[in-house]
């Protein structure tokens, strides 16, 4: 079934996309917490091919993270309970941000916290730095022993995004939680409160039990599921949000090969993040970019934007194609 469209672009297709106010050179970037800032794999590929670089979520102060075991493998998925260890913002600004800025791609800084003040404080701090293109608000980490994720509630999400919006002019990406009864309501709350884009989504609460030892494997019992197992669910979250709202969406969940990236783009995501796949294939991101490019060439698309939302019903496609959406 390949090659149905006229081959208008045998040359290299344009991979650039607009995600709200952000222009990315390619619609693929790492997922926060699954790449540090790329130093460990810089010898394997040219990091500047990525649409953006994003750090592991920085917290307002140093914290050790969760006790072991922190990771556990299950069928086609990884369960983690890392707990966002952090050396705090000072270390981030000194050692990680300069490296991120040096890469020649967009710089997205992921921030976290336990209170609105935590997020607002970090946002204000980042606002004062040079060379940050956007903030991603991790509202959805399921592994804080201290509190439920903000993104489980539309009200908590709205209030938090509003507080951050007051603290910075930087574009804001709200990273939502997948395990909610009504994702559209929470997505809408984030956008109303001033988010410029959404990251959909984080890990799914999950656990594993050691049947020989008869106790949970993870140190804090439960964690978050990521990897291929979750992709069909997160794809549906993206589909629902794009169907209902004018919100630019970055998809995040189980992207392992270029096919997954294409599925998300066809559903209407404007970019994808790659998390767990980096662990098993440290070259996953350039592989996905190459595969996406080849898909576009094979199908005769000159621009990746031609396929964004293309699996949606015709009546929605025009709206989705608008860069602001």
């Amino acid at each position: 079934m390949e090659g149905k469209r006229p081959n208008v672009a045998a040359t290299t297709p344009d991979l650039s996309v607009q995600v709200g106010p952000l222009t990315l050179k390619a619609p693929v970037m790492p997922a926060s917490g699954c790449f540090n800032v790329g130093q460990e794999v810089a010898h394997l590929f040219d990091l500047s091919c990525m649409g953006a670089i994003i750090n592991k979520t920085v917290m307002p102060g140093p914290r050790p993270g969760n006790p072991p075991y922190r990771v556990l493998e299950r069928t086609a998925g990884l369960i983690n309970s890392i707990g966002i260890p952090s050396k705090g913002p000072a270390e981030f600004l000194e050692h990680q941000l300069p490296f991120m800025r040096s890469l020649g791609t967009r710089v997205i800084v992921s921030i976290g916290g336990l209170s609105e003040a935590d997020y607002a404080g970090l946002a204000a701090l980042m606002d004062a730095q040079e060379g940050i293109d956007a903030l991603e608000l991790d509202l959805s980490c399921p592994n804080h022993a201290e509190r439920r994720p903000f993104a489980l509630s539309a009200d908590a999400t709205r209030s938090l995004v509003r507080a951050v919006r007051r603290a910075t002019r930087l574009p804001l990406i709200a990273k939502l939680a997948p395990n909610v009864s009504d994702i559209v309501a929470i997505a809408a709350a984030a956008m109303e409160a001033g988010a410029d884009a959404l990251c959909v989504a984080n890990t799914y609460p999950a656990m594993g039990i050691d049947i020989e030892e008869r106790r949970p494997v993870l140190g804090l019992q439960t964690g978050g599921l990521s990897g291929p197992a979750i992709k069909p669910m997160t794809l549906r979250l993206v589909w629902e949000i794009v169907s209902e709202l004018d919100a630019p969406v970055i998809a995040c969940g189980g992207v392992t090969t270029w096919r997954d990236a294409v599925e998300y783009l066809l559903a209407g995501a404007r970019a994808v993040q790659v998390g767990t796949a980096n662990f098993t294939n440290p070259r996953a991101i350039p592989d996905i970019i190459d595969g996406l490019r080849a898909y576009l060439v094979r199908h005769g698309f000159a621009r990746v934007t031609d396929i964004i939302g293309a699996a949606q019903p015709p009546e929605r496609r025009a709206r989705i194609a608008r860069p602001s959406a």
Binding site: C34, V41, P68, V71, E73, N80, P85, T280
Partner: protein, 273 residues
């Protein structure tokens, strides 16, 4: 002792199984042709490996490197079948492809002042000891090994250690006449000129080694246990608690990433209780 060396860039290659052995007591040994990894692999480093047919598994599995032959371009790993990953690795035959990341972690430092080393292990924990012994043989460092197992039939790696010039003391749980590990190690430490102790595969042995290091002021290194998702520092999954000290100045709860700070930690940093 020099400081622990830093991490060096590792390789991502598809190697080939050069040979698959069934050693003593059900231990499997794979000889893997992966020249860049074999060439770069220092003592105490590990690899993440995965068979092409991996079923519904996702993650590669970590194994200490048993031995390298840079000229042949090979490295070896030693393991027992535990779950599905090791089962699939055990099914590999000469000629089969195998995915390898490595060398990972930091090499262990070796004495540079002519003093010898003590190698203490149990079960598959002998694996990094053989690689350390190999390095010692090359550098002319004396080595003595305590190799422990539940019973005589379960001992593994002894001959390869001896071939490398190591004096090996086997110790089995079923031997009623045996001295306790701490007695043996104390005796050794008191009677010779040793620079460092390395221990892998048993907390009990690690505690014994730690006590002996303290009593005799020796450097000690313990291979720690962790579940690993990546093996090269980006998942933060392999955290192990560390005690107050240079690696943990505040004295609060703190963790080190076993894959990039280890797999062997200075014995006073590791939590062994």
């Amino acid at each position: 002792m020099p400081a622990t060396p830093a991490n060096v860039p590792w390789h991502m290659v598809t190697g080939t199984v050069a040979a698959a052995h069934l050693d003593a007591a059900g231990y499997r040994r794979l000889v893997v042709h992966a020249p860049p990894v074999a060439a770069a692999c220092g003592p105490g480093q590990f690899v993440m490996v995965r068979a092409p047919e991996w079923g519904m598994l996702l993650l590669s599995r970590p194994f200490d490197v048993y031995r390298t032959d840079p000229e042949a371009g090979t490295l070896e790993i030693l393991f027992k079948v535990k779950g599905e990953g090791t089962q699939r690795l055990a099914a590999l035959r000469a000629g089969d492809p195998i995915h390898v990341l490595g060398p990972l972690g930091r090499p262990v430092p070796l004495p540079q002042d002519g003093r010898g080393v003590l190698l203490v292990s149990r079960g598959a924990g002998v694996s990094p000891m053989v690689r350390i012994a190999q390095e010692c043989a090359q550098r002319g460092i004396r080595a003595r090994a305590l190799v422990s197992a539940a019973s005589r039939e379960r001992l593994v790696g002894i001959q390869d250690l001896e071939t490398l010039g190591v004096t090996v003391h086997p110790l089995t749980d079923d031997d009623p006449a045996a001295l306790r590990p701490v007695q043996i190690l104390s005796g050794w430490a008191a009677g010779g000129d040793w620079g460092a102790v390395y221990v892998c595969g048993s907390r009990r042995l690690a505690r014994a080694a730690r006590d002996v290091c303290r009593a005799h002021n020796l450097a000690g290194y313990v291979f720690v246990e962790a579940h690993m998702a990546c093996g090269f520092g980006i998942c933060h999954g392999c955290a192990v608690p560390v005690r107050p000290g240079p690696g943990n100045p505040t004295g609060q709860v703190a963790y080190a990433l076993a894959c990039v700070r280890g797999p062997a930690l200075p014995i006073e940093e590791a939590v062994l209780d």
